[in-house]
């Protein structure tokens, strides 16, 4: 099998050992993809090709699963993920403005990753913290009663970089 873009050798070995573990169990695709996402930080077509070959599933089908679930991504995600809630309560309280502020500050659009790979910006549905609306989160940490200024300040304080 020929792969145009060389994958990281170490990560590829990890993927193969993960594949070996689940290969013969029923429904091996989802656990494999979860592992692949963890190992590579994304599931690009080169990785899908390996999985397709090993699990005997078509690439189209694998890509279908990858693009269906938001937990998988085709491009690497940034080290920190910023999610702005656009659920009804937060939206009414102006979370769109916060999202716009992040877009302006980071110079990326919703769903994209900054060039230095530091931040990924995403709009999410309700995260169940409507009492604190509007809400956004950086990695696992949630910031309530937010406003545009707060969002900008957070970026200035340079939130901790997640080890990966």
């Amino acid at each position: 099998m020929r792969i145009e873009k060389r994958l990281d050798q170490e990560k590829e070995t990890l993927l193969y050992s993960a594949l070996h573990k689940v290969k013969n169990s029923p429904g091996p695709l989802m656990p494999t993809l979860q592992e692949a996402q963890r190992i590579f930080g994304c599931v690009p077509i080169e990785v899908q090709k390996i999985i397709s070959y090993e699990l005997n599933e078509s690439i189209a089908k694998i890509n279908g699963v990858v693009t269906f679930y938001s937990q998988f991504s085709l491009k690497p995600k940034g080290k920190n993920s910023i999610s702005v809630c656009l659920g009804t309560a937060c939206y009414v309280k102006g979370s769109q403005g916060i999202l716009d502020a992040f877009e302006d500050e980071l110079k990326i659009k919703n769903g994209e990753t900054t060039k230095d790979g530091k931040y990924t910006l995403e709009a999410t549905r309700c995260i169940g913290a409507c009492g604190l609306a509007p809400v956004f989160s950086v990695n696992e940490r949630i910031y309530g009663r937010a406003n545009v200024q707060k969002a900008k300040n957070i970026l200035k304080t340079n939130p901790e970089t997640k080890e990966s």
């Binding site: 873009k5 080169e46 078509s58 089908k61 269906f68």
Partner: protein, 587 residues
Amino acid sequence: MSKLVEVTINDKTYNIPEGHSILRACEENGIIIPRLCFLDSIHEDGNCRLCSVEVDQQHNLKPACKTIVRDGMNVVTENKRIYDYVSTNLELLASNHHFECFKCSREDNCEFLDLLRRYSILNEYSDLYGYELKQTQLNNSSDAMVIDSSKCVLCGRCVSACEKYTGIGVLDFNKRGNKTYVGPAQFRGLEDAGCIYCGKCIQACPTGALREQDDIKVFERAVRDPSKTVIVQVAPSIRASLGEEFGYPVGTNVEGKMFAALHLLGVDEMIDTNFAADLTIVEEGSEFLDRVQNDGVLPMFTSCSPGWVNYLELYYPELIPNLSSCKSPQQMAGAIIKTYYAERLQVDSKDVVSVSIMPCVAKKAEAKREDMGRDGYQDVDIVLTTRELARLIKRRGIDFKNIQPMEPFGDLATYTGAASIFGVTGGVMEAALRTVSEMLDSEAKLIEFKEVRGKENMKEATYHLAGKDINIAVVHGGVAIKEFLEMLKTTDKEYHFVEFMGCIGGCINGGGQPIVKAKDFERIDVIKERSKVLYTMDSKSILRKSHLNPAVQKLYSDYLNKLNQHDLHNLLHTHYKARTAYSEYIE
């Protein structure tokens, strides 16, 4: 005889065999239920919900295609509630469909349009404020096929057809919700997605979301260009299926009318691909004999079906040495047209437009292959599918049913019975055996090799020729091909000659053939009816062995035998190269 159950449908009682779905029970008893996504034994997921019916006065409507009849069941198929429900579903589907009916490939047999008309759909949602129409995503970079996702209604028939007919699964649903689209992963071009262009998805599509690359306009301009000589060739299986587009029953031979229609379309010369099929057999037969006698690579695989050639190049490139180096009949005919025939007509090869009418989508890509031409021109310039020819005839307003049948007037139109059965699975093998058996053993009187006929997707036989047992096999359809090639790796049995075809049933069921609507697909055995035409032609013909074709013999003595070995090889033989799917890296 299976057990019968008593079912009440619309206040009338019927006895229905156990295990039937409500949809099947109704259709067999003449009750019409609207349906869109259901394709018998191919796609039975029940996701369009247009066949919804009321069962036992339950609150929720049930999909008739998925609900199995039960004794004492009470079904209502038609009332105001169901009518409104189906109408709403259709309105929603229509609101996300890009209507371009004037240029759609399904201009007169669109299953979706039929339903919209039947339910008087107003398409009022797509004009609503704030409604986002699906973005047009056009996948048209391949030479053979186009996916237009804006016309897709996401019924999933093509996805299942690709999976079940070829076993490859090139198409699938991508993304989710209102962003869902059907196509290869990341909507890569089909040429890079491992597609073999069998066209089964086109035939499964109820709308015009999948179609062949349309070459009608190119043809129309060529026949109007006085400086060009348009020479057309017609594949063996076109005459067995073209009639269906004009209301003839499946399995009608329209050879005469087909040539008459081509004449009215304004082509200059007509030849028959059947002639080239005879030529192929002579070349392929000699190649096979050469391999048997000189310890060449065996088993030898036939190379007539471009879908199959694509399959081998993509998925089993290690077996390329087994593939016959002969070009397919289309390309042989093209090569002869541009050289020998152009010379005889005293026109420059560059002024000849070589057109082929094919039952196949993959032929479009085959004609564009690198080594299928010389001196800067391709041997075949335009490939039209059966459907495109039918569209062309209709658009020109030719009254197909009432034209006088005609014989082709190019003299490369003589053919033997062996050539006519090229369009059926087992046909190439049978034709080859007729010639090879006589080459090996001049006493051989065998003409009909019945073991290679029929619909089973893998057929095997052994013939004793000139003191040697020759093991042959006939395989068709992607799933069977894979099964056979995997088996070949492990088996001890020695095969000598194997015929492969990319489509189940062969060319008569090719991806470029007229589309049979889902409803007729269940009732009529299309493959059987169409192949009957070709076998009848064969049994009626006087000459039934390819090498006895006088025109082929004349071609060899007048032209081919005078060429040097190298030129002859370039003219009638080709090369293959290994390919991989998703090979391009896109950032």
